[in-house]
Amino acid sequence: MIPELGHFALVVALLLALTQGILPLIGAHRGNATLMGVARPAAQGQFVFVLFAFGCLAWSFLNGDFSVENVARNSHSQLPEIFRFTATWGSHEGSLLLWTLILSFWTVAVTVFSRHLPEDMASRVIGVMGLVSVGFLAFMLVTSNPFLRLIPVPPDGSDLNPLLQDMGMVIHPPMLYMGYVGFSVAFAFAIAALLSGKLDVAWARWSRPWTTVAWMFLTMGTALGSWWAYYELGWGGWWFWDPTENASFMPWLAGTALIHSLAVTEKRGAFKSWTVLLAILAFSLSLLGTFLVRSGVLSSVHAFATDPGRGVFILAFLGVVIGGSLALYAWRAPRLMTGGAFSWFSREALLLGNNVLLLAALGSVLLGTLYPLFMDALGLGKISVGPPYFNAVFIPLISPVLFLIGVGPLARWKQASLPDMVSRLKWAFAVALIVAIILPFTAGGMNLMATLGLFLALWILFTILIGFAERLKNAQGSLMQKLSSLPRGYWGMQIAHAGLAVGVIGATVVSNFESERDVRMNVGDHVELAGYRFTFQGVKEVPGPNYVAGRGTIEVEKSGSKFVLHPEKRIYNASGMPMTEAGIDYGVFRDVYVSLGEQLENGAWTVKVYHKPFVDWLWGGAFLLALGGALAASDRRYRIALRKAEKASDKLAAKGATA
């Protein structure tokens, strides 16, 4: 009964989404207030029904209702409770439902925080989001219904993929989807601007915090995915340039470009049509990412050669959303008047440079991701594109972006002076360069890649300090007063940039100075790595809730201090799939990482031991990026705009009441 109610709720949600997607847009076009008034209640009603459907699916999972095919395929009676709940979004169908739920959540957020928007703008934004929702709900109901029953009912499920039975995987998809789907708000704002032909500074101010918040979630989601790959896959890597990773990295790059372009549109009224195009691009890449991961076009066990129905449906949906919005862009963009002129050396010009380079980097990732598909489709053979390509192309494109981070925030709008900039930054440049050349010698000798990375990171950090010093020079009061007088937007930018520098340090040091050994160990054997002495004390069988683990004990010793790591090799009962759980000792300056390979005779195992200097700085940097985003999005000027608008609309309402 419950699954049927969920199914029914999805149908109702689809009808509400159609209402939300059609009537307000007509209303906004004709200036009909009644039709525009439909937008908010329809969106909120849709959210209630999608949430109800999600609740029904979660209930079926929690109660182990194996008569639901989706539950039977992705759950098991021995599965611990928490994973039984999270299995709700562990499957294709369930993750689509989560996508839709988050989309309607964002729409409700727009209905709540858009009271200060002109009514036609708000209606268009909500209407466009309704149309996107129609696509996803129809896709689910037509090809991927999560509530289908299974007859005969199997006695037990076939279990959730063990890779997903992990806390990191529990939080990763919702975070990622908050980011992906969050770009739909910026997208809807862009389409609304194209439809109305109105794109002014106020428009940029409205869409900016939404974009920043979505970007913040995407940053966290991507970082969590990378961290998960690091501790769960057992080979110590943190980024593989895998199509699935690229699928979340490409919208991130587009979103980063969008945030910066929006800043120019808000402050200077320039880059308007460019900003609109980036907003369309960021969301299009989110959809494309979903398509690539969900359709099996790139790498998946199930190609759609057998059942291309789903793939064709998503592709048609992509065609309508992306093709339609790009056609609208081509038709309407000339209407968007371009703002103030600027010289070749100004903050605008530097931000334009940032945008162009970010998009070039994005293009290189897109090309590398789809190249195997292009070759295959043209009948030119099967190839795969790996990390060597990405590193060779991506690093040269992203390095100048990192360099520009040092210059852009210190440059004046419209017209900056190059000689002045050189005299302000020459010391930062020189010191960063010298330190970056010397540091690698302390770890073995000259290393140009390490020098490049360290130089860029130090350069960013030094210029941030210069920025603060210059901002505070003329301020009044104590240092604390001075610092707290700086707007949150400024803090957000600097913290995010510092986060990038921290991440670059992590990536540089770990890729150039990590060490690893892959050895056969008998009980009592030891191996030395980076000054650590690892002693293998054997593997014991330990039962888990739904798996049996071979739990290793490895004692690690360095200059008298000792600790013990417990890497595991698990065999899951239901699927028989083996999983590796790495044993990691986290530290600010290094991780010590061990994982079990294969069992050999007489209690011996192959064991991998790694020493990973500064690896946690990667995720620390990502955290700072997200923190910067949160601060920037909560800047006072957005809150003031909100409060003012509320007051104005209250007054208006009061007037209306007396009239």
Binding site: I280, S295, F304, L315, G323, A330, A333, L370, L373, A377
Partner: protein, 174 residues
């Protein structure tokens, strides 16, 4: 014109994605398919002085299973290969790079699914067959032409899906 560029790029991309839906990214074709199996003469394990070459199997459909005693996935497929052998499938083994000389003892202990298994100690014949890892299994027809190559262990699902239809077709053609 400039403003139409994004739309044009997307249209091209969508075309490729559409074609991509009908392709299988996992399937890597072997250049050996449809070609005669590479010739070799190698000593047979457990029968000193005897050699085997593919010509001796001409006239029937047979499987060449590349395996090694040190290969864990080969052990995983061993019991299924035993079943196949009992049901009358002709399987020949190629023992690849067995530096520790463990094959004979292992087959004596666990049973051999192979009519014969040959000893490719330096791995040269494996290279002629384009072997990238063990286990790999080739289907070779009556006239010595390679018809299919499977990478990875064989289990019941793989057998039903990939091997049975092909073997049925090949047997009929005689």
């Amino acid at each position: 014109m400039k403003r139409w560029i994004p739309l044009i790029i997307f249209a091209v991309l969508a075309g490729f994605l559409y074609v991509g839906l009908y392709l299988n990214p996992r399937e890597v074709p072997s250049p050996f398919i449809g070609k005669p199996a590479p010739k070799f003469v190698l000593p047979v394990i457990g029968q000193p002085g005897t050699t085997f070459s593919p010509e001796q199997a001409k006239g029937k459909v047979w499987l060449l299973n590349i395996w090694a005693p040190w290969c864990v996935s080969c052990r995983a497929e061993h019991s299924f290969l035993m079943q196949l052998a009992q049901s009358g499938i002709s399987i020949y083994g190629l023992n690849w790079k067995d530096k520790d000389r463990e094959a004979e003892a292992l087959l004596n202990q666990k049973g051999s699914p192979y009519i014969v298994t040959v000893d490719d100690l330096d791995g040269r014949v494996g290279i002629d067959f384009g072997v990238t890892g063990t286990p790999e299994t080739f289907v070779i027809d009556q006239s010595g032409i390679i018809r299919m190559k499977h990478v990875g262990p064989i289990d019941e699902a793989v057998w039903k899906k990939k091997f049975e239809p092909l073997l049925g077709k090949l047997e009929k053609s005689t």
